[in-house]
Symmetry: D2
Subunit: 368 residues, 4 copies
């Protein structure tokens, strides 16, 4: 039942399959008056565009965003912003090889079980192309957040066992290498591993890390719509995600209370702050003013060219080799998808927070 909509106040609905006419999103609830152009969206889309390196699929898509509504004289109007990216590279490929088999690690079997049949061309709705709509919307959310000083920094923390060296962290490096790592040396090693694994017809997983800065305290709704709970939903809604941590994450389970508690203090400006940030910027489901930090585990690409055992739709054992245009790793292109989901979650909670207090609400309606 439904399920293609995310967010309550800043709400998005995505549509589209990998091999249909296109993919897109309708953004509803964006405040009026935000300067916005197709360039803003394109800049985000370019970060997930295929064909940018030897580690991404050579599919020749321009992935050009078209804004169909919601903008007037360069600004958002408060009405739905519809963005479409038309598919241009729908090769009339022969899908007979995968039409009747269930690819391991893919959603072929579950789609058939749920709906009785499926669009077998390239993953259909479960294709990574569905995330184009999220990224287009994420660009809008991120631009909105920027108006409030909120900044998102997202990158590849590790690819297989190759992890960045925190001592070498360089934010500017992220956009300079094809694996989006903030550490030049680690990026090189990761590239070498990817080359090797491509040669072995195999694929690799990794971890994405996100930091959200300058979030005002108090965002997030206690109980079910906690900031961390909605971030967790957001992240796990991305296809290949298998784990999510806030702050110290699983390490917090191995800490004592005396180690894990963050002492409150006052900062140079006299504002209340925390001495440490094991909590990852969230207490009781609400932002505490510290950096929000999280980590996302991404599984290796399920499509690999080496022979795999599986069954056909009529339950016969078969061997399948998945050829075609597939990245050996999902992580680098997923970085902007993860950042987009974080931005969408924050934008929604930013809008939902304004009615929390009678005194501020009164100032809104009764200014003087």
């Amino acid at each position: 039942m439904a399920g293609s909509t995310f967010g309550t106040a800043f709400s998005i609905t995505t549509w589209g399959e990998s091999h249909g006419e296109g993919v897109g999103v309708v953004i509803d609830g964006c405040p009026a008056g935000l300067p916005l152009s197709e360039d803003d969206i394109q800049a985000f889309l370019n970060r997930r565009k295929p064909g940018q390196s030897s580690y991404t699929t050579p599919r020749k898509e321009d992935d050009t965003a078209v804004i169909l509504s919601g903008i007037f004289e360069g600004k958002t109007t408060g009405t739905p912003i519809s963005v479409a990216v038309y598919n241009k590279s729908q090769r009339s490929k022969d899908y007979s090889a995968i039409k009747d088999i269930y690819r391991p690690g893919h959603a072929d079997f579950t789609f058939d079980q749920k709906y009785g049949f499926r669009d077998y061309r390239g993953g259909g709705r479960s294709s990574g192309r569905e995330t184009i709509g999220r990224v287009a919307a994420g660009a809008v959310a991120a631009k909105l957040l920027k108006q409030f000083g909120i900044e998102l920094c997202t990158y590849t923390e590790s690819i297989h066992h190759i992890r960045i060296n925190d001592a070498h962290f360089d934010a500017d490096e992220i956009m300079r290498n094809p694996v989006y790592m903030p550490d030049k040396e680690a990026a090189k090693k990761a590239a070498a591993l990817l080359e090797q694994k491509m040669g072995e017809k195999d694929s690799v997983g990794g971890v994405i890390r996100g930091i959200i800065r300058h979030v005002p305290a108090g965002l997030g709704e206690p109980v079910f719509d906690k900031l961390d709970a909605l971030l967790a939903q957001a992240m796990f809604s991305v296809g290949a995600v298998k784990g999510f941590e806030i702050g110290d994450g699983f390490n917090a389970a191995f800490a004592f209370g005396s180690e894990n508690n963050d002492a409150f203090t006052t900062d140079a400006s006299g504002n209340i702050a925390k001495l440490t940030n094991h909590a990852g910027g969230i207490l009781g489901g609400m932002s505490d003013g510290s950096d929000i930090t999280y980590r996302v585990a991404v599984k290796p690409t399920p499509s690999i060219a080496r022979p795999q055992s599986t069954v056909s739709t009529n339950k016969t054992p078969v061997t399948v080799e998945i050829h075609g245009r597939h990245d050996p790793i999902i992580v680098p292109r997923a970085v902007v998808v993860i950042e987009s989901m974080a931005a969408l979650t924050l934008a929604d909670l930013l809008l939902r927070n304004t009615g929390a207090r009678l005194d501020t609400l009164k100032k809104f309606y009764l200014p003087s």
Copy 2:
């Protein structure tokens, strides 16, 4: 804005604070005809009841569930089931010690930031007592799921670095020891650690593991309301949770595709099954018929009796020692909360799935 409701079709709304008149839940959307009594709910509540061992708070609450609506002649009627647990042990304690300070690891600061003031008595809405409503509703959801053969098994996998030995796994043992571990030896070691840390006025974290069996394939909605995405929200909505994994979780990030993919096969009954279950029973956000497996990281109890540095509400540095009735570990009592959240998520998606196909929908309305 709002945020106290979880679920779309099987929907719950919780209410209540630790030191108000009581806590409770309204369950809306439970199908009519389910046999249900207060005993069903009490059995679940007893699993989180305080005062059951030396590792849980000695607060003397009966935590007795009262069903106020939605049941007629022993069965659910399809209308809202209202359950209340009245607070009986609201000691007119002196809260002046914590009223004006921000306890580390607690939501005092964020509540003040969001709402302008807070109910400072024992955590208010962010208290663990809020979860009573979830557990009461979880009992109903679990009973509903049982009608469809779905079973939930949830337990403590590790307390600090003391992990169960999988070779000694004994499901019957879970309810026999106060830490809800399925391994008698590990439970003993954990108990010893807890005794030690209580002596040191410190607290301990741990990991909860859940397995959901016999889930029909196809539950979960593609894209944002994936089964794993809603489970993730459900789990992170529980106060002390800092990490969540489905299947192999973060280990999937360190695996190659050839290792992580689960080959499809046919089982003894000729049904399609998987040879392995790295995916944790979910593909493309939908259940695949295998066991759904997940892991939840729980931080150590923030309330500890040793001196901690913090600030007062007027930004003055102070030292605080949190005395009173506090568990040295959250994990054991959280096991049933986690199981309840899993049951609620599944029940919701079970109801949401029925309209996925025209053919089955037609059988519903046009039985022929």
Copy 3:
């Protein structure tokens, strides 16, 4: 599926049946800092209390509101406000007379069709007692609206063909007569008609009129969540409502554009206003600053003591006479229910409106 929740930002969930343990409501999303006591709620409940005149059921219910959560030191905390009214007058009456028959004009048949069985004691969930939760919540919404100068005036406009004389309109009279009419003479005539019809074992319908004053312009969301659309849903969610009009309503269908359009002008304070208000204070689904005016048609009480033809649950024709405590008219006690639904709709849209513009949103977060 679900359906017991109304509102998005200011959200209520009602529970309870006529002959269960009680009825109640959980209010989620009320801003923190609103002074609120049980007296505020009781004042609203008293307006729908039975047994106040010969035209209302003599059921001896105190209908006493108890606040179970969400208030601290006399103010709302921003967390759910749970209100319960425990049933005290559940007479262990013999319901065998109506248990197996379908009462005309009641929901007995449809409940059985939907759920397979029903709580046959006094209407169950479809009883008028369900509205107690709405009225309790309406009291909170109305108190919130009052902080912004918004006032609700609701009254009986007509009972059968006895209509108030607009020239004699006296707002103070509304609370002075048992039929809540703002015209003493009309109220007397209506009372006489009711006496007559009670003698004839019959019942009477009528029309309720509402006026909402000082609503800031811009409340209501374009397209599906228009202010008038949500008011219409709110009103038709009240059991006996059969018609709803905004402004001139059906008369607008018989007017020409030149008659129906309201010319804009400026008022004494130099603000933009309308010369007339055929539109009822709503243009394009948003409040325009004029009075919001609406009209609600209420059917006669379906429970009448004279013999009626119907069928039993096993499809046998039977004659039924419905004795017991039943009002000869629903309208007067429904006045406060209608006012409550209007208040709830406005409160929700008041909270939802704050994110419409970037400039005002920036002032909220960046007060400078």
Copy 4:
């Protein structure tokens, strides 16, 4: 905040303005397996297409529907169906005449109040063109309902005081005359009135009547999501609607209980039925198996070419004459919009109803 989405299980989100790139809709939750083509949608769109008679705007739009997603091999896949209608007739007209004034009866003023500015070209989001998305989705909903035998009949009942003669009712006539009246004579008189009023630079209102046949009993959720409540929201969400009635509507307010109650009986097939249908097919918010009947009041077109008094955005009194392509009446083209909203409401409640009973739910999952 948001507001462009309607429906919970069968859910639609519309986008687009009159003079942007286009208008459209995303339909989420349509069951998989429904045969669907662009022709199905076009047939509905053609019923609201401008330029079909002298009483509709001569705007030369093809209004051609393009399906962008959700269909595979001629059937719905269960994933979102995105439909776009690109605007082709965006005349680079000079809007300076209306840019700075508030047109009476339009949403210019309220849009400015809410959002700080507006798209002044032809109504923007409040334009009738927004309903194209609804009608496209309504075509899908109606086709789904047809699979269950549910039929919708919608027509113009009256134009100003010219009402159809029920004795001459001819369903086939509806599509034969430009005013969609089921009575040839009334249609002729209405046409004459429209000609006259166009000459007088005025506009006319009217009433639309809908009948929904063969609805299974039990659709609609008690309390807030009653079938009549959601129909009321649906209808009032259409721009020019000012009144709504179910069954006898306002006449029920002038009836006695003995007149208004519908006696239950058994029909020729031995099924339970009602002797009369004052209730309009809904009892307690749920369908009772009888025809669902409703009536919608539509105001006269606010755009009229005769001089009207109003003010400019800077509060100066001005006179405005609204020239351009405007229908003298909204009613005929609104007929299919109203029918679409009814179909959408029913489709949503059809899907939401399947979890009401445990016994039928068990048959779904455990067919045995």
